[in-house]
């Protein structure tokens, strides 16, 4: 039965008829969508933003370096944590 039905399907010609002016309908939709792929446009915007962002980062680094902030040694982490916690308790005791 399977083979018979497949033979029937193969013998059944599929029409190639196209509705009148179908390509105009497609072109109308193409016009609505625009010719720009939205993801491609988004990618283009991101790439264009790379150069200004890098420039800004460079300028900020230069300003920070020239201000001498990089020359100062940062306090050890445990001292900084201790002073932060003590500051909180000191503030609390003052409040009471």
């Amino acid at each position: 039965m399977h083979l018979k039905l497949m033979a029937v399907a193969r013998a059944d010609p599929v029409p190639e008829g196209v509705p009148y002016a179908f390509e105009q309908r497609v072109m109308a939709r193409v016009g609505l969508l625009g010719s720009v792929d939205p993801w491609a446009a988004w990618g283009t915007v991101l790439w264009r933003a790379v150069a200004p962002c890098l420039g800004l980062a460079f300028v900020l680094c230069a300003v920070t370096w020239s201000s001498g902030a990089f020359g100062e040694a940062a306090p050890p982490l445990d001292d900084a944590l201790e002073s932060t916690l003590l500051a909180v308790t000191d503030a609390g005791s003052e409040a009471w």
Binding site: M1, D12, E23, V26, R29, V30, D37
Partner: protein, 197 residues
């Protein structure tokens, strides 16, 4: 008429023009291949409005993805790949319950089945009832099974062609073909059972 300027250009030239911004040239590509895409879509959708929606979607996708067309294969192959995948998406979106029975066969379909059971060779392959029966059976298949059976057994494409059209690996096509045939046998078994209930 401006449209006639593009008739003698090949697909590569048309695609170049479209990429340069001559969007109206896309209409010539649509005109060249719309009949072929309609023929493909009619294998998977019954209603003409659904067929038109599928074909329109195929060309919209083609237009949107044209920048990514590298030209490794002829444009027609790439277009048919988009068409087959769009038809598959349509089948998946419009899956009906496949548990429906075959108890509502028309008298003509019943007659054809009787003739087939009496003498298989005598049942005509060009009978409208037979075509309707094929349509019913195909609608009971899962989307993947229906796609594989249509490409492999009705359109008689090779496994390699099917893999290229669908984006599936060759081994996946073979597995799906095996499962599709088993599914078809189950559906035909149900057809036989439901007739005699």
């Amino acid at each position: 008429m401006a449209d006639s300027l593009h008739v003698d250009r090949d697909d590569t030239e048309l695609i170049e023009c479209i990429r340069k911004g001559e969007v109206e040239v896309f209409a010539e590509l649509v005109r060249r291949y719309q009949a072929r895409v309609f023929r493909t879509a009619r294998r998977y959708a019954r209603r003409e409005d659904e067929v038109e929606d599928i074909v329109q979607e195929v060309f919209l996708k083609v237009h949107q993805k044209l920048e990514g067309f590298r030209g490794d294969a002829p444009f027609e192959h790439w277009l048919m790949r988009v068409a087959v995948r769009t038809c598959y998406d349509f089948l998946r979106k419009h899956q009906r319950s496949r548990e429906c029975s075959f108890t509502d066969l028309s008298p003509e379909e019943d007659d054809w089945l009787e003739r087939y059971q009496g003498a298989p060779a005598s049942a005509p392959e060009d009978a409208a009832a037979a075509r309707e029966l094929v349509r019913r059976v195909m609608e009971h298949l899962s989307p993947a099974a229906r796609l594989v059976i249509t490409l492999l057994e009705i359109e008689e494409r090779s496994v390699k062609e099917i893999a290229s059209l669908t984006g599936w690996s060759i081994s996946l096509v073979k597995v799906r073909a095996f499962r599709a045939r088993a599914e078809m046998r189950r559906v035909l078994g149900r057809l036989a059972r439901d007739r005699y209930l």
